[in-house]
Amino acid sequence: MNEPAKGQTIEEKQYLVRFKADTRSHLHVLDADICATKCPDKICTIFCPAEVYKWEGIRMHVGYEGCHECGSCRIGCPYENIKWEYPKGGHGIIFRLA
């Protein structure tokens, strides 16, 4: 029999990564109204590889602390509604291996 698979969820995967979070977010939704009224798919909540974006019924929660700084949300948001900067020097994700 195969062993039971571990570490499948994004929460478990994110737990493997080292982060040094800044106190302020480097990701900003520019117009909260656009997410609420114009964007039924909320596709950022799907393609973000770290599930940084979570729709909470009425607003977008941005968990910037777990961001891999890949840039997908800035490019993939259909309304160009995300202001994307790098975290302060030395902060954010810290890859240890690959």
């Binding site: 195969n2 062993e3 698979a5 571990k6 570490g7 499948q8 994004i10 478990e12 995967k13 994110q14 493997l16 990564v17 040094k20 798919d41 596709i43 799907i46 393609f47 590889p49 770290a50 599930e51 891999h68 700084e69 890949c70 840039g71 997908s72 800035r74 490019i75 993939g76 160009e80 994307w84 790098y86 975290p87 302060k88 020097g89 030395g90 954010g92 994700i93 810290i94 890859f95 240890r96 291996l97 690959a98």
Partner: protein, 431 residues
């Protein structure tokens, strides 16, 4: 009075460090800025580093650098739900000098490489984000960093700030990239006993293997998965065009799990332990997505210039060559005392005449073609695996009958014509 250097290089990845190393070795006063805690801490790649371009910079580097395994076998797997057609080249000449390529772990390798640039005299400053270029009279004269009193000046600024290329964008060298110009890659490093790796991949102790996986690994959308052997770990990842993830509403980490759980992949990684999870973008727009790469007092290199050959999974080697060519252009400009766009343009000319520019031109339509016509992955790979299954299954029917059936299964004459046209078109964009 603000500090002034001959050259500021933004980003200590393969492109930036190659440039800084070459300049420092020639006696140029160079500042290498890195936003991470250390070089490599923000960098990700599948894991293959090509020997030639690195050795052009540091001969015999592999004797000291933290490389994992020299690759002696490259497999290409066309994967269906529970079958695969695999093509492989194994050559023991790749296992000895001069070697072809090595797997590397970037957080280790990039630190080592940047350290070599420092030994040549480059000044490396970590934990520093460049917010913008300082422009005076249409000329880049320095950078503004996020440090207090963070303005630094230089004759030339080299932008090696990676795939997002925010600085070149803010100079107007390119527009924001589209989702069909970038691939989103997610990867895991899996710890696995050295001996187990060697048994599973048919390797000796000092040999490595790479597997590129097409088809069902990306559920038919444009992209690839990969499985590479390190010394005592595996890199398994999957990269697809961001536009494909959006169109099919796929979560990248779920796609990675799908690959890991695939019945033909799972046995390779069984019993391994997850060590790290990583996500990064790959610039895959190719030649047509290249920004302007030379301006007055400024050059763009590596991923920031979108220098990736997605078909041959080359990128870090192109980055290194671009870094060296940028350094050489700067040295010539310094000699002439002229850092204008015209004086620095030899970088662009030499880059486009090198393998970097030539290969980008060769495949300039490839990504867009396969992006536009996903049935190469969705339909043709299952068609091939089915044909192989029919041909190799011994069931009492003659080989002629089998061939007839395979031919019949291709579909109507119209369908066959379409396949022939697709093959021709694929050849056309790859030739």
């Amino acid at each position: 009075m603000a500090e002034k250097f001959d050259v500021i290089v933004v980003g200590a990845g393969p492109a930036g460090t190659s440039c800084a190393y070459t300049l420092a070795k020639a006696g140029v006063n160079v500042l290498l800025l890195e936003r991470g805690e250390y070089p490599g801490s923000k960098n990700v790649m599948g894991g293959v580093l090509y020997r030639k371009m690195m050795e052009d910079i540091i001969p015999g580097f592999y004797k000291e650098a933290p490389v994992e395994r020299p690759i002696v076998e490259q497999r290409f797997m066309m994967l269906d739900k529970e079958s695969a057609l695999t093509f492989s080249y194994k050559g023991l000449e790749w296992g000895r000098e001069p070697y072809n390529n090595f797997t590397v772990l970037r957080a280790k390798f990039d630190q080592w490489f940047a350290d070599q640039a420092v030994r040549q005299g480059a000044l490396l400053v970590n934990e520093t984000v460049v917010l913008e270029c300082i422009v005076e009279d249409g000329r880049v004269v320095g950078v503004r960093t996020d440090r207090p009193d963070g303005d630094v000046y230089a004759d030339v600024v080299v932008l090696a700030d990676g795939v997002n290329s925010l600085l070149a964008k803010s100079l107007g060298f390119h527009k924001e990239f589209r989702p069909d110009e970038v691939a989103l890659a997610v990867m895991e490093v899996l710890k696995l006993d050295k001996k187990t790796i060697e048994d599973r991949f048919n390797l000796e102790a000092d040999q490595g293997c790479t597997i590129e996986i097409f088809g069902d690994a990306t559920k038919g959308i444009l992209g690839t998965a990969w499985l590479y052997t390190n010394k005592d770990s595996l890199n398994i990842g999957v990269g697809t065009m961001l536009s494909g993830l959006i169109k099919h509403k796929l979560k990248p980490y779920e796609l990675l799990e799908y690959v890991k759980q695939h019945p033909l992949i799972r046995p390779y990684i069984q019993g391994s332990e997850q060590q790290e999870y990583l996500a990064h973008l790959i610039p895959e727009g190719g030649y047509r997505s290249m920004p302007k790469i030379v301006g007055s007092g400024v050059l763009v290199v590596g991923d920031a210039a979108q220098l990736v050959n997605a078909i041959h999974r080359e990128g870090s080697n192109m980055a290194m060559t671009s870094g060296v060519l940028a350094a050489e252009a700067i040295l010539a400009a310094k000699e002439a005392g002229d850092f204008s766009e015209k004086a620095l343009d030899s970088y662009r000319v030499n880059l486009m005449n090198s393998f970097v520019g030539q290969d980008l031109q060769k495949y300039k339509d490839a990504t867009h073609h396969f992006e536009k016509f996903p049935h190469y992955f969705e339909e043709y790979i299952p068609l091939l695996t089915r044909a192989a299954s029919q041909m190799f299954t011994v069931d009492g029917s003659s080989k002629w009958d089998k061939q007839k059936k395979i031919w019949r299964d291709l579909g109507s004459p119209g369908k066959k014509f379409k396949i022939a046209r697709d093959i021709y078109n694929a050849w056309k964009v790859m030739k």
